[in-house]
């Protein structure tokens, strides 16, 4: 067959969120890829400039459903650093527990999706069944299965009771066994091996050149994890390991993610058993002093970075979100060339794409190569204001 354009997206059963891959294929081999990522843009960065520090955290949580705690925590941690306040250790531990539980639920979800993309629905059903244990724990601790709402500037919103800690610890041994079983299935199941091995291989130099982050880069041998190299929350006090792999293909990335599942479970268990007592929050000032900070965090998909600039008021002047999926898309575009058409869903799923995180507005001024932040002329309407007096006739 001659070269044809196969439109994967914006609506496609392989994608959970809209993205437009225009794949130019020659028979079953991919020649070129044209990527259009802008379908999920919601104007969150602009909306965040009009909300004060109490109201902006639920907004930033809703950047993404799966890594919601990541965005809220990285912003809260950045603002706390600008303000110069240190949150109590119990709050650090609670934030860490929720963060690692979120990593576990995200990786289990990813495992199911990766199996579904190759038609192996059994593994999909089993991993999502085990994910329910993590979701139940999160629901007991925070009140909701996604969008936990645990963070505040100055600490954590609600405390962990001993009953919740006990219930969570009881669920962990079963999960540990299931994770071991998934590693066995990965190593022995023939169709998984044959579809994942050698597919979408990226060497270490390529990973560094294209700016891949997270498990995608760690599977190619890049030994970088923000939790170890730029420690935050309670990670400096907990014994844990960074998981890397040298293969660089989808199989390597799966191994890294299952390894991280195991490590996260150990971290959660350590934190639940050794959580310190004390208050869970301190009073934060209403306004933040003038300053700018780049706050980083290891989300389940990689390194998420928030650039925050404050100007002495109770709102941020600018928040720029660089999510990990945005950093990983270039590596997908490079890995897909010369692969099979049938491998597109596998390679795309291997970076764990989260389009809601990705679609941010970047204005690049080509004349003097500054990064513009003036969006008043792109027509995004400001906040409608408070409604204290709306009901008055």
């Amino acid at each position: 067959m001659p070269e044809v354009v196969v439109p994967i997206g914006p609506h496609h059963p392989a994608l959970k969120e809209p993205v437009n891959f225009r794949v130019i294929a020659d028979g079953e081999k991919i020649v070129r890829l044209e990527l259009d990522l802008s379908y999920n843009h919601r104007g969150i960065e602009k909306a965040a400039e009009q909300r004060n520090f109490i109201r902006v955290l639920p907004l930033l949580e809703r950047v993404c459903g799966i890594c919601s705690h990541s965005h809220a925590t990285v912003f809260a941690k950045g603002i706390e650093e600008i303000m110069g306040i240190a949150i109590p250790p119990r709050a650090q531990y609670i934030r860490t527990i929720i963060a690692e539980l979120e990593r576990m639920h995200s990786h289990l979800l990813w495992l199911g999706i990766a199996a579904h993309e190759i038609g192996f629905n059994t593994l999909f059903m089993w991993t999502w069944r085990d994910r329910e244990a993590v979701q139940d724990t999160l629901e007991e601790m925070s009140g909701n299965r996604v969008h936990y709402g645990m963070n505040e500037i100055g600490g954590v919103r609600c405390d962990l009771t001993p009953a919740q800690v006990g219930a969570a610890l009881l669920r962990l041994p079963n999960l540990e066994e299931r994770i071991k079983k998934y590693m066995d299935i990965l190593n022995s199941e023939d169709t998984l091996l044959i579809r994942f091995r050698g597919v979408g291989r990226m060497s270490k130099e390529e990973a560094l050149k294209y700016g891949a982050v997270g498990p995608t880069a760690r599977a190619s041998g890049v030994d970088y994890d923000v939790r170890r190299d730029d420690p935050y929350l309670a990670y400096a006090e907990i014994p844990w390991n960074v998981i890397t792999d040298t293969r660089g293909d989808v199989y390597g990335r799966t191994r890294v993610r299952i390894g991280e599942l195991r490590e996260s479970l150990q971290i959660v268990r350590y934190c639940l058993e050794n959580i310190p007592g004390g208050p869970i929050r301190i009073d934060a000032p209403k306004n933040a002093p003038k300053g700018e900070i780049l706050s980083r965090y290891e989300a389940p998909r990689g390194e998420v970075a928030h650039y925050i600039r404050t100007n002495g008021t109770d709102k941020v002047e600018r928040v720029d979100i660089r999510s990990p999926t945005l950093a990983n898309w270039t590596s997908v575009a490079m890995c897909l060339v010369n692969q099979n058409l049938a491998d597109i869903p596998v390679i795309v799923a291997a970076i764990d794409p989260c389009l809601s995180c990705t679609c941010r507005m970047v204005v690049v001024n080509q004349k003097d190569s500054t990064n513009g932040t003036d969006r008043t002329n792109v027509g995004i309407a400001p906040d409608p204001g408070d409604r204290r007096n709306r009901g008055r006739p």
């Binding site: 190759i118 038609g119 192996f120 059903m125």
Partner: protein, 324 residues
Amino acid sequence: MTDPLFILFYIFIFPGFFFLFGYALFLSYLDRKIAARMQQRVGPPFFQPLADLIKMLGKEVINPDGVDWRVFDAIPVVALAAVMTAFLYVPVIGASPLAFQGDLVVVLYLMALPTIALFLLGWLSRNIFSAIGGVRAVTQLFIYEVPFFLALLTPAIMAGSWSISAIVLWQQHNLWLVFLQPIGFIVALVGLQAKLERTPFDIPEAETEIVAGPWTELTGRRLALMHLTTEISLVVGSALIAALFLGGPLLPWTLSPPWLNPAAGFCLFLLKTLAVLLVLSSITVATGRLRIDQLNVIGWKYLASAALVQVGIVLVINYLWVTP
């Protein structure tokens, strides 16, 4: 047994079209229920395949722009007619009254027609996904058809006849062919899984890669009939394997009241086709989908050579021991 009323009853009511229709829906229900229970889900209720069929028949038929809708309407009907006719030659309660020398070849030919129909549908829908799916369907047909035919040829060689009913009769006086030709049995099962386009061979219909392949532009009653064709192919395929390898609906001895023989034969038929379905369902649940080039390697390297080895063994056995 050439009474025309009996022939009409055989073709249309039992064990012809009416029974086939009901049994196809039942096997489809069982397939989905077993797959669901293996995944620790509940699975659909008993009447689900019938409800799906009725629902799809009532839906709107959408004709894509520029597509010849008359051909689109006709192709699923032809495919359905082909597999329904194929069932008439498979023994259900004893030897089929329509049997003749060479009906094995007719059944195999008729069962290949749905794949050709899918290719035509894929080619005629002016849709890149359907075209890719149609091409994959025919590529898959070329790959598995050779080992499948060879594996089903060996029972004919051993029994010395080209009629399925005669092969079943031969097995009644000798051993079941699954014990004499185990390699052929395994190749036939894998080939049947590929013919029915079930995981790991559901490459033409890969949902996450090419939407629905050649099924993309089928809607309404066309989709209902094509779906029914797939379900009936499952019955015909498993009945064929049960007849050729597992001895079909005949007991090794005849029972005393003469009407008990067809009844016992029917029960055996049900049991054997259910056993084949259990194996096919387990394969579907336990594996993921292969790529078409990987299927190419596996098909020609392992399946075709295993089938050839089996043919060789059967020829040697036939030469050394003269079959009665």
